[in-house]
Symmetry: C2
Subunit: 381 residues, 2 copies
């Protein structure tokens, strides 16, 4: 599949392994990425967009597999909030992903066959380390901004905490400095659904010409509920029936059932089950405070990064309390931080949707940060 995917590739050879948190040196390594806009002459206008668990690098263009618009297409373009006349946007498929960047579906050079479960467990830190290689390759010393929602927000936090000199501003959205017990629980249900599918074959399904599609679909369905709010589900579907009457059976009687089944069945067309395992595990392992002596503020001590932390009132997967904990830590070290809790009934997915207050917040923060960074309005020189 990956050979057919359009876009840029950075290939890192066996001489440049990526040292992972688990101790493994991973090589060779492909990083698949997309860019939008143009890098200015002093390379000061780059924004790194970090995608979420099931997102990818096709931020603002038709998706090569699904044919759907890019996941942040509304935000990206000339004159838009992520203004391609002003900024150079980069988004790379995460390490462990399945849209071109090296992941469990990639070929293990030691065997000539897909890595599958022999792929090393990766972390959010490892994902960022891979992105760092891409920046080095593009010769970008400092990002103007790193931005992302959900797992993308974890990456933004990791960037700011571990590589503060490489980041001018960071916008972690609908995220947390650690995966909560409830988040780990939901991730584990998804993994168990996949691993319970006999077609998973102990992770070695490519060798058997099989795919754990039923398990992966169940994982997606369970996760999808957590991306929406109860209010959003009520507004969109309520108890509306799919047909005119109850079926008195186990067909999709209710529209919400049909919707969920559709989410499951379309997801398996574009996503690799082992990638789902590895990426959810990376989120589980994320705990920025634990990596800094148990005190989150220590992750940001002395930081010069300008932060804009954003949460949504109806997001129960990454509730505002998680963002507030980040803001408290930043305030404790006198960091430059804006915090906006956006009123929305759209749940966690609000960061992907048309939310005027969210967009106004992004726009205002980016404009202010660009001014401080000395980026001129309009096209780069």
């Amino acid at each position: 599949m990956s050979l057919l995917l359009p876009g840029h590739r950075l290939e890192l050879g066996p001489d440049a392994p990526l040292r992972l948190d688990c101790g493994v040196e991973l090589a060779p390594l492909t990083i698949a990425y997309q860019t939008y806009g143009r890098l200015n002459s002093d390379k000061s206008n780059a924004i790194l967009i970090c995608h979420a668990l099931t997102g990818d690098q096709y931020v603002a263009e038709t998706h090569p597999v699904t044919g759907k618009p890019g996941w942040w297409e509304e935000l990206v373009g000339p004159g838009r909030i992520l203004d391609t006349d002003r900024y150079f946007l980069i988004c790379a498929n995460v390490l462990g992903g399945c849209m071109g960047t090296t992941g469990p579906a990639s070929v293990n050079p030691a065997t000539g066959r897909p890595w599958c479960q022999a792929f090393p467990v990766i972390t959010i830190g490892d994902m960022v380390r891979a992105q760092l290689r891409l920046l080095d390759y593009l010769e970008i010393d400092q990002l103007f901004c790193v931005i992302g929602g959900s797992m993308g927000g974890m990456q933004a936090l990791e960037w700011a905490a571990r590589h503060p000199q490489r980041v001018f501003a960071a916008i972690p959205i609908a995220t947390a400095a650690r995966h909560s017990a409830q988040n780990i629980a939901f991730a584990e249900v998804g993994r168990q659904a996949i691993m319970a599918d006999p077609d998973w074959c102990g992770g070695d399904y490519p060798a058997h010409g099989r795919k754990p599609q039923r398990g992966l679909a169940v994982a997606r369905m369970a996760a999808h509920i957590t991306y929406l709010s109860e209010a959003a589900l009520h507004r969109k579907f309520g108890r509306n029936l799919q047909g005119r009457e109850l079926s008195w059976g186990f067909n999709a009687d209710f529209q919400v059932e049909s919707y969920l089944r559709h989410q499951g069945s379309t997801f398996v067309e574009r996503f690799d089950a082992n990638s789902y395992l590895y990426i959810t595990r990376a989120m589980d392992y994320f705990d920025l405070a634990a990596d800094h002596g148990g005190i989150l503020a220590n992750a940001f001590r002395g930081t010069k990064v300008r932060f804009c932390v954003i949460s949504f009132t109806s997001d129960w997967l990454f509730p505002t309390a998680e963002s507030r904990a980040i803001v408290h830590a930043l305030n404790a070290v006198a960091a430059n931080v804006s915090f906006v809790e956006v009123e929305s009934d759209k749940g966690h997915d609000a960061f992907l949707l048309d939310e005027p207050e969210f967009h106004a917040t992004l726009s205002g923060f980016l404009d202010g940060a660009a001014e401080h960074r000395g980026l001129p309005r309009g096209a780069p020189p």
Copy 2:
């Protein structure tokens, strides 16, 4: 299995079929039930306890399969809130269940083999209709009280709405007058997990000597998360590790994962997968307002039943708003209703747990209702 289960059985023969909401006449029919305490001479001290989705009739005794204490053992006994010196307690396994009452694992008289997916789809109304047969058999004209949490609360509401002359008081706890879109969504994920398991065999697993245990375990795991609050999960487990270090793999690294896996694996030992499908479907179909012209108040017009509606602050599966909707409807018809939202961080499961404010509410309401009913304190004459 059911032959070995201790307790009472009411057997209804082919001459006394139960007319179900779907139109099918179900016969023969077994109702398995337990009682505690003694029925008084005028049969006015009976309390019907309605159990939840995965509960059963073993309310206050060692469970015959798991060996664990009864699910409301703390509440039931001499001098306790459900005082066996004062009241005659009845709890029947619900229609569609798998602990002795007729359900999809029972023998279909037409084939001599288990019903499986040929079992008719049942409703909360049908469950209550079966309980009504039991009351007729016991010659109890009017229950002193009907009480239940979650799906048990749906039954309590159904009793009060459909058979008001048979109920003096009703205590619906942590419940709703209809399954919400989010509730249907979670139920559907569980059903899909079961039906995705090849060992489900289209529902006909008994004929194949198989059981969809992996799918049922995943369904249970997903559901179990919804029974707890994020705060409870954080307090109980947080990010505590199972061992001393991360495994860098997909073992149960975190205690919350190990706990969930345990919930899944023990559940499949005591529950039938088809029962799980049918009972969740009954909850989905429950919509008391829709059954009364779309106006919930109409379900209770002219009622003389005394209500005590109880919710828990951290219950996000059946949030307080659902209880409030019931209370509004009851107020609209000038019903006698008490409403208590109990402060608790234990989530939906709080109704099964030691919550002093909850217990005090039950105790106060029951004492008052018993006085109005003219039930003497102490043992029945």
